[in-house]
């Protein structure tokens, strides 16, 4: 049995992606954050580090769980839901 990557799994879930992000991350303080729990907690793996160690975030594929909203120790994630009709569209939730 093969392991599903997060990307494989996100392809199974339906999204209607809005042109603007619904979550804004102020990455200026992320360097001070030693643990960066957002990277680990996000079920869609949308938080990562680039080659220079800067935090990068992509809102496409957001499952709208809200974990990053609560976990950010610096309260640096401005979390909202996408506009009506956009974002994740579950059928088997």
């Amino acid at each position: 049995m093969k392991r599903y990557s997060v990307e494989d799994r996100l392809l199974k879930t339906r999204f209607e992606i809005y042109k603007e992000p619904h979550i804004i991350v102020d990455t200026s303080k992320c360097r001070e954050c030693l643990n960066k729990p957002c990277i680990k907690i996000c079920p869609a793996g949308l938080y990562s580090l680039d080659e220079d160690g800067n935090l990068i975030f992509n809102y496409e594929g957001c499952l709208e769980c809200g974990s990053c909203r609560l976990i950010c120790p610096y309260n640096n994630i401005r979390w909202n839901t996408p506009p009506g009709g956009y974002g994740v569209d579950y059928s088997f939730g």
Binding site: M1, R3, Y4, V6, D8, R9, L10, K12, T13, E16, N35, P37, C38, K40, I41, C42, P43, A44, G45, L63, E64, C65, G66, S67, R69, L70, I71, W79, N80, T81, P82, P83, G84, G85, G87, V88, D89, Y90, S91, F92, G93
Partner: protein
């Protein structure tokens, strides 16, 4: 003021639709705003719903709602490195209709039909952006640029109550008492499901899973059988993200355990989903889920109970919707939108199964966030069973096996102390 609707309900989940259904039934002119493109678009849960609130308040529901399976089998599955230990409660036929599995989209579609048949209006794909206050009384919402005036607003936003928080009607929850639930749904042949678990077409399994890849992680796994699908998931305490724990990988570790391989071999993944789960229990409910012109219901108000084995959520949501509707009816009869009258909601909640359940499990949050439990219990069970059922030359006595198993994972005094404190809270 000119009124567009008597009541605007923000959110078309179980609590919002329950509120809307009863209010419509009482003759109120109700509008439900659901930001998802259809009912269920934004809703995720494990998979099981308890029947009692529907029996009580939705006569005829059993003929209308197409459930997936009735939960005839409750399983506690302890995973070891490769082995597994399974404890099953196989219910007698009369008791199996007390809970069922379903996908929320199906449940909400049916609840939505009920709302509409009573004259309620449901607008999907519409997000409430702002709250309108008049003389400090919540008097409507703004959605997509439209102003919608109402006598009462009911917040049924779910666990992420963005709007209610923005207007300080509730405070942002702390991550310490929350977990993230991650779920994978697989298409599995009906006959294979029946054969795997010894089921017929309308009976099903609800399983709680501990140990294996989850050993030492504050959280657990779940599995629910649907008619032609199986849902597998993990619920992991948010603060585990400060350790080297990745819930999105844990669920795959779980699926790849030998016990699960026999179930998910050849199964097709059809959806991946996630949600936050409150583990705060009684300490997580709002002190004042009401105010001038508004009420807060369901998950938004913290009405969720994780007992350690099962989760109560949808049933509490449906009940709180009923109490919200009764409260608005009472206030309206008194010609008031004042929090003095709307406070009746808290009275109803406090004398209900919601509050009684949460109170009974008031210390469960401590047990759920105690790593010790998750690390030693599965280990002791695995070693104990392997000793008792030893296949070596000499069998072991139960007593010796027990002492050895405990010693291998923990101190005996420590274990007794933990079992007593744990035993009291769950």
């Amino acid at each position: 003021m000119s009124i567009d609707f008597d009541v605007v309900v923000i959110g078309g989940g179980p609590s919002g639709l329950s509120t809307a259904y009863f209010l419509s039934k009482y003759g109120f002119n109700v509008l439900v705003l659901e930001r998802g493109s259809k009912l269920g678009s934004k809703n995720v849960f494990g998979g099981r719903v308890y029947s009692y609130p529907f029996d009580k308040y939705f006569p005829g529901w059993r003929d209308e709602l197409n459930v997936e399976r009735w939960v005839s089998h409750e399983k506690l599955i302890t995973l070891c490195k490769e082995d597994s230990i399974e404890l099953t409660l196989a219910r007698g036929s009369s008791d199996k209709y007390k809970s069922f599995t379903i996908f929320l989209s199906k449940l909400l579609e049916w609840m939505g039909e009920r709302v509409e048949s009573e004259g309620g209006v449901i607008a999907t794909g519409v997000k409430a952006d702002k709250i309108i206050f008049e003389d400090n009384v919540v008097s409507g919402v703004e959605a997509g640029g439209d102003v919608i005036k109402s006598l009462y607003v009911v917040f049924a936003e779910g666990v992420n109550s963005v709007l209610a928080e923005e207007y300080k009607l509730k405070s942002k929850p702390s991550p310490d008492k929350y977990a993230v639930g991650v779920k994978e749904v697989f298409k599995v042949d009906r006959s294979k499901i029946n054969n795997l678990f010894g089921l017929d077409n309308d009976s099903g399994v609800a399983a709680y899973i501990l140990g294996g890849p989850l050993k030492g992680v504050r959280g657990g796994g779940f599995l629910y059988t649907m008619r032609d699908y199986i849902s597998l998931g993990v619920v992991v305490h948010l603060n585990e993200a400060f350790e080297e724990v990745y819930p999105r990988e844990l669920i795959e570790d779980l699926r790849l355990h030998p016990y699960m391989q026999k179930i998910f071999k050849d199964a097709t993944l059809i959806e991946y989903s996630a949600r936050l789960v409150s583990e705060a229990g009684l300490h997580g409910i709002l002190e004042k889920p009401y105010g001038d012109g508004y009420l807060i219901v369901g998950d938004s108000a913290g009405y969720v109970l994780n007992t350690g084995f099962t989760v109560r959520g949808v049933d509490y949501a449906v009940l709180s919707g009923k109490y919200a509707a009764d409260t608005i009816k009472y206030s309206h009869e008194n010609g008031s939108r004042d929090s003095k009258f709307l406070a009746k909601y808290m009275e109803l909640v406090k004398s209900s199964p919601i509050y009684h359940g949460l109170k009974k499990f008031k210390d469960v949050d401590k047990a759920l966030s105690d790593r010790y439990v998750y690390s030693i219990l599965p280990g002791i069970l695995c070693r104990l069973f392997n000793k008792v059922y030893s296949t070596g030359e000499e069998p072991y006595k139960l007593y010796d096996s027990l002492i050895d198993s405990i010693k291998s994972e923990s101190g005996i005094i420590n274990l007794i102390y933990k079992l007593i404190t744990l035993g009291r809270s769950i």
